[in-house]
């Protein structure tokens, strides 16, 4: 069983001793060149007058009628130079700061944002509500493997302001850095940035210590979302980090080749980075390219393919070659729901293992999400945690020194001897058997170990009952409630989100 002990939140990135490269220098050069050619000759759709004007003022080639921006390579190079390689995604305490681009290893997210959840009581799937977001944030606060927190599910009972409620739920239930991917319009962005500012103690303090950030997903191929882009500009204006994500589906919204998908993905991401650097130079950016494959029979979106996952690992090198931090890999199975289904396991192991070895600054991680990010099964976080524990152990490699070679012990024990009764074995063996949900002894005669799914549920129940994330001051909580209530009453916001503009 894993140790269940109440305490304040902590974070634990995984630093890999082992290294992997997917692309050689020539590959990186070619993909970068292809991305630049795409940006210069094909262009990206920016359906936002604001963004088009920013690009035009910076002398990019803008077609205001078609809303296509073509960015000359020299502009891309000039503006990307302004993006910092190192910065902090801050938590509410320095111990929870994720120092991005440094030597600390890979920080993991619990990501999202699924519309459905497996009910903890009934085991049935249902639409998620705000209390599910709160519970999940609390769980994320508890487990050190999670450094960065998203609303993992949608606050589906809150209508158009669900993304704002989701961010509030996270702020109230974790001290860790909060990021959103669903605040996709400028008005919602401003409400949530205001909340973050109240927590940080003012706009300047928020800029200094950004406890909140945005990840914006492009629309493959080669398009941005109007509201999303304007939200990104609001975050950048506040000095908050803005990440850009591409999710190309190989063979559908990207060419039927991994390299081509990486090129279009990189172009989408860089177009967003360049926009924020033109408007607000020095904005902390990061990128992520998450390819998937289209099932050639059913048309289903399928993330868990080794073709797409290795491409996501390659994106680590592409990002770094452009001086940008990178997030790698999702954490959700293809379409298999059963917790103990082998398909769900294998898809998450090799992808994350390779990303950590490639030196990803961040990675989507233990989230309990399956079915292409549409379903949250909270207990599954324990399953994810097992995988990350294994990755941590594997990527630390092997320590070889006089101590670990243990020649004197070998000489002492000799041929046909037994090492078990040695004091050093007593000290070392427990370290080789880390806490796990897999080997919980069963009380039943017919089974050796308890069903890990049951053990996982027990852990989640314990965390939800016993973990109490350090709360925000009552006056801060009250201020957040006021901001959210104002958003709920804002008719302009509702019209904006429902597309009524």
């Amino acid at each position: 069983m894993i140790k269940l002990e109440e305490g304040r939140a902590s974070i634990q990135p995984i630093k890999s001793k082992l290294k992997v490269s997917v692309l050689d220098d020539e590959d990186i050069k070619k993909i970068n060149q292809a991305a630049l050619s795409i940006l210069e000759e094909v262009g990206v759709l920016f359906p936002s007058e604001k963004a088009l004007k920013i690009f035009a003022d910076a002398k990019a080639n803008v077609d205001f009628d078609k809303k296509i921006v073509k960015i000359p390579s020299h502009l891309v190079a000039d503006y990307l130079k302004k993006a910092p390689r190192h910065y902090t995604l801050a938590g509410r305490r320095p111990e929870l700061d994720a120092k991005i681009g440094g030597e600390n290893g890979t920080y993991f997210y619990c990501s999202g944002e699924a519309p459905n959840v497996v009910d903890l009581e009934t085991g049935e799937r249902r639409r998620s509500i705000k209390s599910d977001v709160e519970n999940m944030a609390k769980i994320a606060d508890y487990f050190p493997i999670i450094s960065l927190v998203w609303p993992t599910v949608s606050a589906g009972d809150k209508g158009e302001t669900a993304p704002i409620h989701g961010v509030e739920a996270c702020f109230n239930n974790t001290e860790k850095h909060v990021q959103t991917e669903s605040v996709m319009d400028e008005i919602s962005a401003k409400y949530t940035i205001e909340m973050a500012s109240v927590i940080a103690g003012g706009r300047d303090k928020l800029r200094e210590k950004p406890i909140y950030s945005l990840l914006l997903c492009a629309i493959a191929p080669l398009a941005q979302d109007r509201g999303g882009i304007e939200s990104a500009l609001a975050f950048a204006e506040a000095g908050l980090p803005v990440g850009l994500m591409s999710m190309p589906t190989i063979g559908l919204s990207a060419p039927p080749y991994q390299a081509g998908a990486l090129a279009t993905g990189l172009a989408e991401d860089l177009s967003g980075c360049v926009l924020t650097q033109i408007a607000y130079p020095g904005t902390p950016n990061f990128i992520t390219i998450q390819p998937a494959i289209i099932n050639p029979r059913s048309g289903d979106y399928f993330y868990g393919s080794p073709f797409s996952q290795i491409a996501s690992v390659a994106a680590v090198q592409l990002a770094h070659s452009n001086g940008l931090p990178v997030t790698s890999q999702f954490s959700f199975g293809g379409n298999a729901y059963k917790l103990n289904s082998w398909q769900v396991g294998i898809e998450n192991v090799y992808g994350h293992l390779l990303s950590v070895m490639a030196g990803a600054d961040m990675s989507f991680g233990p989230s309990g999400l399956i079915e292409a990010v549409t379903l949250l099964d909270m207990a599954r976080i324990l399953f994810d945690r097992e995988i990350f524990q294994a990755i941590d152990i594997i990527t630390k490699g092997i320590e070889v020194n006089d101590d670990t070679l243990a020649f004197d012990m070998i000489r002492e024990v000799g041929p046909r001897g037994m090492f078990l009764g040695q004091k050093r074995t007593a000290n070392e063996l427990p370290k080789l058997w880390p806490p796990s949900i897999l080997f919980e002894k069963s009380k039943l005669a017919e089974e050796k170990y308890r069903n890990p799914v049951e053990v996982a549920h027990e852990v989640i129940d314990w965390v939800l009952k016993n973990h109490h994330p350090a709360p925000l001051d009552e006056n801060v909580q009250q201020e957040l409630r006021k901001i959210v209530a104002a958003a709920d009453r804002d008719e302009n916001l509702k019209r904006e989100i429902r597309g009524g503009r």
Partner: protein
């Protein structure tokens, strides 16, 4: 070339995924004054049926299906005006109108669904992305489709699927049409909750549900 030969060539153009050839033959049919309904039913539809069969036998994959459907649509677009004028009706399984709801521009999924349906003998008018409820109602009144297909990718635009259904009720035409919903956050529960007639979790499921709804 007699009519039979022309119809065979039309059929073959779809089987060969040759959009340019299909368009050329469609125009030829108009020039020769051939009954456009026959051109569709005895020429192009036979071709798309073969493509559909090959796909269900797993001898070809989606890219071929898409190419076949695109050739089919290109040809039938040419002949549609003439069919309307002649008062004829091509032997489609059913007619549908498809698009993403207001506020949502993620249309690649519904485009794929449209392709699948065309490849299965449906006549689908693809309205595009970010379609207002009032436009769906307007098109429903104008085109009198058997099906309306509504797609949404975002949880924040999903409610517009309900809005379309409510708008059809207000316009007094809800009973005349079957509404199918789909998209990543959509589920059977949601479809039931908003009073949709069907839900398909992917493109091939959408075809099965559509066929069931029209009683095929």
């Amino acid at each position: 070339m007699n009519n039979k030969e022309l119809f065979t060539k039309m059929e073959q153009s779809i089987i060969n995924y040759d959009k340019d050839e299909a368009v050329r033959l469609a125009k030829m049919a108009l020039e020769k004054g051939i009954d456009p309904t026959k051109a569709v039913d005895e020429g192009f539809v036979k071709g798309i049926q073969t493509v559909g069969d090959l796909f269900s036998r797993e001898e070809i994959f989606l890219p071929e299906l898409v190419m076949g459907a695109e050739a089919m649509t290109a040809a039938t677009d040419i002949l549609e005006e003439a069919i309307k004028k002649s008062g004829g009706k091509a032997k489609y399984l059913a007619k549908g109108v498809a698009g993403t709801v207001q506020g949502d521009i993620h249309d690649i999924g519904i485009r794929l669904v449209t392709t699948f349906l065309v490849a299965n003998g449906f006549d689908i008018v693809f309205l595009g992305a970010n379609i207002s409820s009032s436009l769906f109602v307007e098109k429903a009144k104008e085109l009198k489709p058997d099906l309306i297909l509504l797609s949404a990718l975002l949880t924040t635009t999903m409610p517009n699927q309900k809005e379309v259904i409510d708008s059809l009720k207000e316009a007094g035409i809800r009973e005349n049409v079957k509404v199918l919903v789909g998209g990543a956050p959509i589920s059977q529960d949601w479809a039931d909750q908003i009073g949709a007639d069907g839900y398909g979790e992917n493109a091939s499921a959408a075809v099965k549900v559509a066929k069931k709804l029209i009683g095929v």
